[in-house]
C-alpha cells in the first residue's frame, strides 16, 4: 500500500509528488502517456517566475527528475477507474490494482479532437496534436494547422520555420489569439490562411495525403498535405472519475483552493479542477496544496 497515489505526471502531479516525498510519504505516480503533461506543447515558457526562458521539454524533464530523485515511483499506466473504500482507495489500470491511503487526481486536460473518421488511426501518420513534438518530421513538407486560439497560432509560427508551407484553417474570420502573434504570422511568406472554414475529411492511404476543407458557403476544397496539426482546444480528463467525483457541467472537478473533492482523502490538483487561471504556476501551486492536504488527512487517520 502507498501513502499517496497521484494520477497524472504533469506539472501538478509531479509537484504534488515532490511535496509528498519531502513529507516522507510513499508515493506512486501513474501516467497514461509520457511525463510532463501538456506543457511539452510549447517551445518557450516566458512567464514562470525565475525561469525567464525555458522550453516545455526542459521544464517537464526538470520537474520529473526532481520528483524521481526524491524517491517518487513513476509508473506508465493509465488509471481507468478509482474506488473509495474509506481508509483505503484503489486505482485500477489495465494490468494492476494499486491501493493508497489518499489519492490526488492531477489529470489535466486532453486535446479536443475534430471527431473525423480515421482521426485516431492517423495519429503518428500525418495527424498530430503537438507541433513541438512532431514538427521536425515535416521539414520541407506541406502542413496545415486547424484552430484559431493561441496554441494554433504558435503552432503555425513554429512550423513555418520548418515546413515548406503552412495553411492555417480557422472556422471564424478573425483569430482569438494574441495580437502580437497574429502580426508575426502575417509576416511569414509561407503561411496561408483559410478563414470561415472547417476540415471535413481526412484522406489517407498509409499516411495522411490530403484534407478536405469546407467553407461557410459549402464550397469544398481538397488540400494536399503531409501533416495536419489539430489545435482546437482542450477538455478536462475526468471521465474516468465521474462515477464518484463531483464535476461541473464542463467536466471540471468541483474544488476550491484547498483542492478537496467531494470525497475525504481524494484530492485534485491542476488544470482539471474548477479555477480561473490554468497555468503552470497555478498547477504547481495546486500540487503543493493537494499534497499538504493529503498528508494532513493521512495523519488524522491514525
Amino acid at each position: 500500500m502507498f501513502d499517496i497515489i497521484i494520477i497524472g505526471a504533469g506539472p501538478a502531479g509531479l509537484t504534488a509528488a515532490i511535496y509528498a516525498r519531502r513529507a516522507a510519504k510513499s508515493v506512486l505516480v501513474l501516467e497514461a502517456t509520457a511525463y510532463g503533461g501538456q506543457i511539452i506543447n510549447t517551445p518557450d515558457i516566458e512567464n514562470y517566475p525565475v525561469a525567464a526562458h525555458i522550453s516545455g521539454f526542459d521544464f517537464a524533464t526538470k520537474v520529473y527528475e526532481q520528483a524521481k530523485a526524491l524517491g517518487a515511483e513513476i509508473v506508465f499506466e493509465k488509471a481507468v477507474e478509482i474506488e473509495d473504500h474509506g481508509t483505503e482507495k484503489a486505482v485500477i489500470t489495465a494490468k494492476n490494482r494499486y491501493i493508497g491511503k489518499a489519492l490526488i487526481l492531477a489529470t489535466g486536460s486532453e486535446n479536443r479532437k475534430l471527431g473525423l473518421e480515421k482521426e485516431d488511426s492517423l495519429v503518428g501518420r500525418g495527424v498530430s496534436y503537438c507541433a513541438t513534438c512532431d514538427g521536425a518530421f515535416y521539414r520541407g513538407k506541406k502542413v496545415a494547422v486547424v484552430g484559431g486560439g493561441n496554441t494554433a497560432l504558435e503552432d503555425a509560427l513554429y512550423l513555418a520555420d520548418l515546413a515548406e508551407s503552412v495553411t492555417l484553417i480557422h472556422r471564424r474570420d478573425s483569430f482569438r489569439g494574441e495580437e502580437g502573434t497574429v502580426a508575426r504570422l502575417k509576416e511569414k511568406p509561407n503561411i496561408h490562411f483559410m478563414y470561415n472554414s472547417n476540415v471535413t475529411k481526412l484522406l489517407a492511404e498509409k499516411r495522411l495525403t490530403a484534407i478536405e476543407v469546407t467553407d461557410r458557403n459549402g464550397a469544398v476544397t481538397e488540400l494536399a498535405v503531409d501533416g495536419l496539426f489539430i489545435a482546437v482546444g482542450r477538455i478536462p480528463e475526468n471521465q474516468n472519475f465521474a462515477a464518484l467525483i463531483r464535476l461541473d457541467e464542463a467536466g471540471y472537478i468541483q474544488a476550491g483552493e484547498n483542492c478537496h473533492t467531494n470525497l475525504p482523502g481524494i484530492f485534485t490538483a491542476g488544470d482539471n479542477r474548477t479555477k480561473e487561471v490554468r497555468q503552470l504556476v497555478t498547477a504547481t501551486a495546486d500540487g503543493a496544496v493537494a499534497a499538504t492536504e493529503a498528508v494532513k488527512y493521512i495523519a488524522a487517520l491514525s
Binding site: 502517456t33 509520457a34 510532463g36 522550453s55 524533464t61 520529473y64 506508465f76 503518428g124 513541438t132 513534438c133
Partner: protein, 104 residues
C-alpha cells in the same frame, strides 16, 4: 533487464544476432521527446523478459542511423531475426511500443 547502450562495434552481436526480439531506441541528448520516451522504454525493459531494449545515440553512431534510414527521432525499431520488423516514430505511449512487439 536494463537498457543496453549499443555502438556500431557491438550492433551486430547485440541486435542482429540476438535470440530475443530487440527494440532499438534511436535517440540524442538534445532531443526532448527522446528524453521523455526513455523512462517508458526503461519500464518495458524491466518488465519484459521476452525482449531486449537497446539505446543508440544517433550523434555518436551516425553510421547506424544512416544504415537504417533514421531521419527523425525518437525512432524505435523492432529487430527480429536480424531484420527490421517494424518501427515507431515520435513520442508514443507505452501501449503503442508494446503493440509493436505484440503485432510483429
Amino acid at each position: 533487464m536494463a537498457i543496453i547502450p549499443v555502438t556500431y562495434e557491438h550492433f551486430e552481436e547485440e541486435v542482429l544476432k540476438s535470440d530475443l526480439p530487440v527494440l532499438a531506441d534511436f535517440n540524442a541528448d538534445w532531443c526532448g521527446p527522446c528524453r521523455m520516451l526513455a523512462p517508458i522504454l526503461e519500464q518495458i525493459a524491466e518488465e519484459r523478459s521476452d525482449c531486449k531494449v537497446v539505446s543508440i545515440n544517433v550523434d555518436d553512431e551516425s553510421e547506424l542511423a544512416e544504415q537504417f534510414e533514421v531521419s527523425s527521432i525518437p525512432c524505435v525499431v523492432l529487430f527480429k531475426g536480424g531484420k527490421e520488423a517494424a518501427r515507431s516514430v515520435g513520442l508514443r505511449p507505452k501501449e503503442a511500443l508494446e503493440g509493436l512487439l505484440g503485432e510483429n
